[in-house]
């Protein structure tokens, strides 16, 4: 009885402030401005070529940023886990990007990547470029735009992934890896056959959290490029809701949100399926 009493507020709170608005959003996405049931909001989206651009841009960014971030964060976690002198100070340093407000990150990079920003100033001061060869960071084509976003996202998010992996690594005893060394494993074999398999639940957590938030990337793009320069899914939601203003677009924004949520869940389930953690998770939940 006691645990249910303790848990009850959480459940009630989630029902009112999460489940209710979510259901509300789903219902309203199927109605038009006059309150008549319709799928026209969705049809509008599916007929809009920008939606497909947003979809493919988002997919590209998610696949590359999640992969790159995972590899670098894992390397960093392994490094910090060796517990060298000053590792706790280094850990804090690595946490700073994660604690920076999104807007500060935006201000930082937009002041840096502007043609007369600090990055070009730095390169010029140290003689890497001259005034004529200033790099137009923000004026590149679609590919370089996405690449830049992936790099900035990686800078911001790697600490977060690293923390989760580091926590998982610390949960694995030193001795199982030592046993690997004794019983014939090279460093790489130990990593592949012992550390990574044992870390799998943690890796899954990190990957799912990352996939969920990577699909929802938009703010840094808008802060650097403004709306509609590099359309991504959530940016289109905000654009419809916040920028276009009319109630008609608001409903399209809602329908788009529902689609994003479906895409996010599908991606999460897909990841669990592919990585093979799905069966295990179901078993645990029973």
């Amino acid at each position: 009885m006691v645990p249910y009493l303790l848990i009850a507020p959480v459940v009630i709170y989630y029902s009112i402030f999460w489940l209710f608005p979510v259901l509300n959003a789903i219902i309203e996405s199927f109605r038009n401005v006059d309150g008549i049931w319709t799928v026209s909001n969705y049809i509008h989206i599916f007929k809009d070529p920008v939606f497909y651009q947003a979809l493919s841009n988002t997919a590209f960014i998610v696949i590359f940023s999640v992969t790159i971030e995972f590899i670098l964060a894992f390397g960093l976690a392994l490094l910090i886990n060796t517990k060298f002198r000053g590792s706790s100070m280094f850990l804090f340093l690595a946490m700073i990007p994660m604690s920076l407000p999104a807007v500060a990150v935006g201000a930082m990079w937009s002041s840096g990547l502007a043609t007369r920003g600090w990055l070009n100033s730095f390169l010029m001061t140290f003689g890497f470029i001259d005034d004529a060869s200033k790099i137009l960071f923000l004026a590149g084509g679609k590919m370089s735009t996405m690449l830049l976003i992936i790099i900035i996202d990686a800078w911001t998010v790697i600490p977060f992934v690293m923390i989760i992996l580091l926590a998982g690594l610390q949960g694995i005893g030193e001795d199982v890896r030592e046993a690997g060394a004794i019983f014939g494993g090279t460093k790489f074999q130990i990593l592949r056959k012992i550390t990574i398999p044992m870390l799998k639940p943690t890796i899954t957590t990190a990957m799912i959290l990352r996939i969920i938030s990577a699909i929802q990337i938009w703010l840094i793009i808008v802060l650097l490029y403004g709306f509609n320069r590099l359309p991504v899914l959530l940016e289109q939601v905000v654009l419809n809701y916040d920028q276009l203003g009319a109630e008609y677009f608001e409903r399209i924004g809602l329908a788009l949100s529902v689609l994003v949520a479906i895409i996010v869940s599908a991606a999460a389930v897909l990841y669990l399926k592919v990585s093979g953690s799905f069966e295990k998770e179901v078993k645990q939940d029973e």
């Binding site: 005893g173 199982v176 030592e178 004794i182 019983f183 012992i194 044992m198």
Partner: protein
Amino acid sequence: MATLELIDIAKRFTKKVWGVKKMDLKVEDKEFIVLLGPSGCGKTTTMRMVAGLEEVTRGTILLDGKDITDIPPRDRGISMVFQNYAIWPHMTVYENIAFSLKLKKMSAAEIKERVEETAAMVKIGELLKRLPGQLSGGQQQRVALARALAVRPKLFLMDEPLSNLDAKLRVTMRTELKAIHQQTNATSIFVTHDQSEAMSMADRIVIMKDGEIVQIGTPDDVYFRSANMFVAGFIGTPPSNFFNVECEYTKENISLKHSHFTLEIDSMKFQELGKYRGKEIVLGVRPEDLLIVPESKAVFTAEVLVVEPQGSHQVVAINLKEIIVKMVVSAETKVKPGDKIGLGFNIKRIHFFDSKTENRIVFKGGV
């Protein structure tokens, strides 16, 4: 099979903290060596240096005459049982045991044969398909053992492998480990802080303290000829009793004066005590060498404080004001707290220690 030689090994952790200060040891082929000592004495560090898990700060390690000091663990031809087993939870028992064999690129058939043979030896033949999470502590211990044995190592290392088992299982495993050793004849090093474990298993015991070897010897050596007060006080349950006595010479005898008694001993047999004339020395007596005797023959009398029955024998504690003396008597002896009893010494088995150096005073007579 193999011999192991540690030459002037040392390990320094930080500027001031030494894990092992200096260590020389030669382990013979097929020998079962136990490193024994209190926690922090450097025994585990020593073993980890032999395993290659810890770099040495100084010194050389020879296995079969070959310098392995700077060789990675996997190429040393050793295997190890870890204190917390360290079996891999994501692999089945079979995969755990087969791990190193697979890395050695043995054929599947060979691996299967080896795994089954080893598993049978440690009696886990029917558990091969299980995951470690489904096993009891004792079974996990056996998996760790099988994994280590399957390698057919030159040198077999065990780091407090029994310390996580319950008391009964620990005694059973002791016997089995010894039997396995007799069967495989693998040169073995076993680390423990449990002196009875050491006594029951070792060919030779290496007793360590503060990063240094205090005594190397057979179980008999360390028990009956303890090199110093530390060993005499560490080995045996209950440990040795110590009395500070003054050494005085009479014509034929030496008389040892203690605040509670005076013990007369033959000056011919204990000639070497001559240089301690008029000085204080320490008399060491094992609990079983203190005897209950009729009051008429007693060296001194005392009151019983506590009686601890152990089934096969009893431990009797006597309060001598500043110290509590413990003695072992037969189960049949009838004593109860408050009884006044007469006490004597088994003179053939008493020991003397220098009160300054705490080292054993050795007699040519061979006591």
